[in-house]
Structure formats: C-alpha cells, structure tokens
C-alpha cells in the first residue's frame, strides 16, 4: 500500500515532468523560428538601390517546373550587383521554411562578374554546392533557375559559368556539369520542357 505522502510526491514529479516537456517543446519551436528567421523575412537582398520590379525564376520540386514570379526589391544600378541581388533573392526563397526547392543551410552567391555585357561568371559559396542534394533533376532545377533569373535582370547575357568559392568545379553535386560556359539560349530551350 502506497502512503498518501508518497502518492503526492509521485503526482508532483509527474506534473513537473509534463511541465518541463511542454517547456522543452516551446523552446524547440522558438529556436526553429530563430533559425529560419532570415528566410522568412521580406525578400530583400542586402544591397542598396531604388526599389523596382524583379523577376525570379523559381524552381519547384513538386511539379518539376521553373516559373517566373515578380517581387519588388532594391535594384542596384551596377549590372553585376543587380545580378547578385537577384540571385540572392532567389536563394533566400529557396532557404525559406516553405521552400519549393530546398537548398542546404548557408547557401548564397558571393558575386556576379560581368566579363563583357554578354558573359557573366557567378561565384557561388561553398555551402551552396557542398550541401546541395545530389541528382540530375534537383541540380538541373537549381542551376537553370539561377541562369534564367540572371538573364531576366541582364537581358544582354548570352552565356554564364559558375565558380564555387572562386574555383572551377566539375559538377554541382555529382551530376550537373558546371565546368564550362552555359549557353543561355540552350538553357532557356531546355527549361521549356520543365513547364
């Protein structure tokens, strides 16, 4: 027979365990909301410039599509900065909690260099490539959406190539060849199959 006193102690301990459990769940949600904070903020690239309409080509894993959307964002006058701002905005969308095409945490674009009005070099950061999911389709969606978004801001572009942390790389994540220049006309034609 368990004494009345012992019963009260056990009940108090169970109540304490339950309370601590609820508090733990609360802390977990709070931590998650902090972690995804930047991605859930307004899609504004950290650059200066007057607000303007920007077209992003957003990939979706659900239906294997790349669709244009318009957002309002600060648009720098420098073409390279404008290209970087557009890609940064696109990547933020991919990092959001409800991302249609998730990327690894910390993915971003360092710079966009214009060698001439028709040739751009996009320097991605290591997190973009190293934490990218591996597969032909997922890699194709990422790279094609970056290329089409860049072309939307810089219509005179004809070709793009990618670096990762300033270095050439054979593939994005084991499949898509990013070692050479990409002809934007061919990317646009291939992307039509995705819609």
């Amino acid at each position: 027979m368990i004494s009345r006193k012992l019963q009260l102690i056990i009940a108090a301990l169970v109540a304490a365990i339950l309370a601590m459990g609820f508090y733990l769940v609360h802390l977990k949600h709070k931590a998650e909301s902090i972690a995804v904070g930047p991605a859930t903020q307004q899609l504004v690239a950290p650059v200066n410039g007057p607000p303007a309409q920007m077209t992003l080509f957003v990939a979706s894993d659900d239906d294997y599509s790349i669709r244009p959307i318009s957002i309002t964002s600060a648009l720098p006058s420098d073409p390279g900065e404008r290209g970087r701002a557009s890609l940064h905005a696109l990547i933020l969308r991919y990092l959001a909690k409800d991302s249609p095409h998730p990327l690894g945490p910390g993915a971003d674009v360092h710079d966009v260099y214009l060698l001439d009005p028709a040739s751009a070099v996009v320097n991605l950061n290591g997190e973009f490539a190293n934490a990218h999911r591996s597969g032909i389709e997922v890699e194709q969606l990422s790279i094609f959406s970056l290329v089409l978004t860049l072309k939307a801001q810089l219509p005179q572009l004809n070709r793009v190539r990618f670096l990762v942390d300033g270095k050439t790389r054979d593939t994005l994540a084991g499949h898509l060849d990013i070692s050479d220049w990409m002809d934007i006309a061919l990317v646009s034609a291939a992307a039509k199959d995705l819609k």
Partner: protein, 470 residues
C-alpha cells in the same frame, strides 16, 4: 653525426620503399566465368584473409535481395534465403546442414563479405551450381563452363593440332621461335600436362599457364610457324608455312585481326563476335558513390544492379549488350565515353538513380544542333555528341513513349551532363526514382525489374531505326 645521418638515410629509404610499394599495389580481382557473364570481383583483404563482396559475386548470376540489421545479413538468392552472421564462421540455410566458412563472415556498411577460400563450398549452396576456383590464377568457374583442349603432334609435315571443346578465338602473337595464344574471354583450363617437350624438328615444347587475365598457351618452335583456325574455331593448327606457290600476295584484309605479327599466316576468319547494340553505363562507382539515397543505399549500387538487370532483359530479347563497368570500380567520364565510342554500339544509356520525385527522367545532351555537321566532322571533344543529337532524341522519345505505356511517370529534357557531350553515338541518360516515399524501393527487385523490362522493350523498338537515322 655520421651514424645519425646513416640511420636517417636508412629510415628515409625504407619509408620511400614502403610508399612506392603502397602505390605499386593494385587491387586484386577474381575473374568469374559463368554462363550468364564473365566478370571481375574486387578482393578485400582483412586480417590477412582475402574476401569478396557477396553482392558483387552473386548479382550477375541471378536475382539477389539482401537485408541487414547490422549483425545479420539475410540473403535471398533465386528465392532461397540464407542467413549470415557477422563475425561468425557458421552459415545456416533452410533444409541444409550448417556450413563452416574458412574465416569469419564480414558485415561492413550493410554489405556482406565472404572469404575467397570458401567460395567453392559456398556457391553450390547459394547458386546450386558447382564452382571450381583456381586460386593461383584467381579464376572462378561457375557451373559446367570450363573449356578443355587436347594437343596432338602430327607428322608429314610436323604440326601441332589443338582441339577445343568449344569454339575459341585467341589473340595470336608469332615471334621468332615462339607462338603465343592468349585466351582472355574463354574459360580455358589446362589439360593435365601443362609443360610438354616434343623433341620434334619443328616443335620443341609447349606450355600452358593461367593468369587472372586469362589463359596463355605458348609453343616453342624451331622453324617459322603459321597458325590456322578451322572447324568453326574448334581446331587450331600450328604448322610450318606451306611452300609458297607463285600467287598474288594476300590482301591485308585477309589477315586475321587477332594476329599481331606480320609473319602470321592468313587463316580462316574467326566466327564473328556479335556487335553490341547497346552500351550500358552504370554511373558512378568506387569512391564516387553518387547520391546517398539512404543511410544504407548508395546510388552507385542501384545503378549497377539496374544495369545488370537491363542487360539480362536486353540479351533475352537477342540484343547484344555491354556494360562499362561490371563491379564497383571507378571510371572517369572520359573512360566511359571512350568505352562507348570504341564499342561499335548504336546506343549509349547512362543509368542514374535519385530520391527526388517519382518516375523516370530521360535526358539528352544540351548541345546545339549544328547544321551541315556530319558524323565524320572533326569536332572538339566537348561537342562530339553534336552530330548524333537527332538519334539521341529519337532514342529518348522511344524510351519516354514506352515508359508512359507502362504507367511510369516520365519526363524528358536536355541537360549538361558528362559524358553525354563526348559520346559519338545516340546517347541518353536515364534517372530512376522510387515509386513511393522510401528510397529503399529503388533497390527492390520488383521495381528494378519493371524499369528494366520497360527500358528493354523501348530499346528493342530502336533496332534498325538508329542506324537509319541521318
């Protein structure tokens, strides 16, 4: 100080020697001859014992399925289940006595490894076929596949007649005083007496050796010699050249392509080897694992299993097929492209697997069609596929149509994907994804069989069409 210098020099030399030895060691392999296929399996050395991967060994021989819980491996081969326990020598199978392996069974990352020395006892249990392992040459014969020969010295004129139990097509090298026959594909084994002395004015002696690369027969001759194949490749005669009649010189095309000496006499052409129609390329391999589909499933493994299954389906339809790799070995993109371009096949199919999405994706190279370009045009390596894009699109369309007919969701697209750009024949890449939510479904025999049947049916419709395409 001089002593210290001497010790330093000794240690440095020793380290350099060890380093050189480490680089010089190539992974050893077992060559397997079976009715289904000839293939090689990598040897893994653990605690001084040679092991082979169970899946590598059995996959080409039949339907295999394995499940591991980290301590046990349940292997179902052709419907019969066998249980292997990690770090145990005992092997249990339903309705059969326990078998003791020569060393512990190894379970590494969900893959089972058995000692090489136990293969002759193990294979009859698992595959229900006799197995004969020639340890020195690391040649394994599965089933009654061995090919035998007999040698007979005949006179007037002196000549050595070799009679084989099945047609052969050896590589022939004739040099001063020796005739070498190399049997790289045939499961040829010795006839008992490997070294024979004849003491004949034409033929001094013969020797037979087995190596991991195949079998070698050498005849030491005292006069110039010629080699002739007859009886559809079952009889090979080494003889002095016949007195030359005053006749026109034989055309170079009459020479056997296998004879590598200008002294080699023309002999009847060997039975033609069927030209492959398809070359299948299981993507990734070795250290390049491809995508990590699940904690226990790698893309390279799924790709190879699917390639083997597809090869069986194609060959069942009478479509000669070759694989770029038959084991878990690495290949560069250039090696894959060169293998395809020198295979004389009409279609290259790269096989990939992914967990993203559902269905089958079919890709062609993302190159521009160049008007006026012919297949004989001199092109940069990165654009070699360009003249073959139309054929590749034809192949992709056929594969997509069949997948749709078979109820598999399918998408086609062009993509920058190596080595498609470097292949000089119709070339497509196929990426398969699991039908449900579990990545492990990619390794399910039923799913792989469904994909293989669908792809094989589509490829069968391309025979004749690819050659006719402009």
């Amino acid at each position: 100080m001089p002593k210290a210098h001497s010790n330093f020099a000794r240690v440095t030399t020793l380290l350099l020697l060890l380093l050189a030895a480490a680089f010089a060691v190539e992974p050893r392999k077992i060559t397997v001859y079976a009715a289904q296929a000839n293939y090689q399996v990598d040897i893994l050395v653990r605690n001084g014992v040679d092991y082979v991967g169970l899946t590598d060994l059995l996959e080409p021989l039949g339907r295999i399925e394995s499940r591991s819980d980290g301590k046990k491996l349940k292997l179902t081969f052709n419907g019969v289940e066998t249980v292997f326990e990690a770090n145990s020598r005992q092997l249990r199978a339903r309705g059969t006595p326990t078998l003791d392996l020569s060393a512990n069974f190894l379970l590494i990352d969900g893959r089972g490894f058995v000692p090489v020395a136990s293969i002759p006892q193990l294979l009859p249990r698992l595959a229900n076929q006799p197995a004969d392992f020639h340890a020195a040459a690391r040649r394994l014969f599965v089933g009654p596949i061995q090919l035998h020969y007999s040698a007979e010295l005949r006179h007037s004129p002196s000549r050595l007649v070799l009679t084989f139990s099945a047609p052969v097509n050896p590589a022939v090298v004739i040099e001063k005083g020796r005739v070498h026959l190399s049997f790289h594909r045939e499961p040829l084994v010795g006839s008992g007496a490997d070294n024979v002395s004849y003491g004949d004015p034409f033929l001094a002696s013969t020797s037979f050796t087995e190596t991991p690369a195949g079998a070698e027969f050498t005849a030491t001759v005292l006069q110039p010699a010629t080699v002739a194949l007859a009886d559809a490749g079952r009889t090979l005669t080494i003889s002095p050249p016949a007195p030359t009649p005053p006749a026109p010189a034989p055309s170079p095309s009459a020479q056997s392509p296998n004879a590598s000496s200008p002294n080699a006499a023309p002999r009847p052409p060997a039975p033609p080897r069927p030209r492959p129609f398809v070359i299948l390329d299981a993507a990734h391999g070795g250290d390049d694992t491809g995508a990590v589909l699940s904690p226990t499933l790698l893309e390279k493994t799924v790709n190879l299993a699917l390639a083997r299954r597809l090869q069986k389906e194609l060959e069942a339809r009478g479509i000669p097929t070759v694989l770029t790799r038959t084991a878990d070995n690495p290949l560069t993109w250039d090696q894959r492209a060169i293998a395809a371009n020198t295979s004389h096949a009409s279609l290259y199919v790269a096989l990939h697997a992914s967990t993203s999405g559902h269905g089958v994706r079919i890709y062609t190279s993302m190159l521009a069609l160049q008007p006026g370009q012919s297949k004989r045009s001199f092109l940069p390596w990165e654009q070699a596929q360009s003249p073959f894009l139309q054929q590749s699109s034809l192949a992709a369309a056929a594969l997509a149509a069949q997948s749709t007919e078979d109820g598999l969701p399918v998408r086609t697209s062009s993509v920058p994907l190596r080595p498609l750009n470097n292949v000089t024949l119709a070339a497509v890449a196929v990426e398969v994804t699991p039908p449900g939510d579990s990545p492990d479904e990619l390794a399910a025999p039923e799913f792989q069989q469904k994909i293989a049947v669908s792809l094989a049916a589509a490829i069968a419709t391309l025979r004749g069409r690819l050659e006719e395409a402009p």
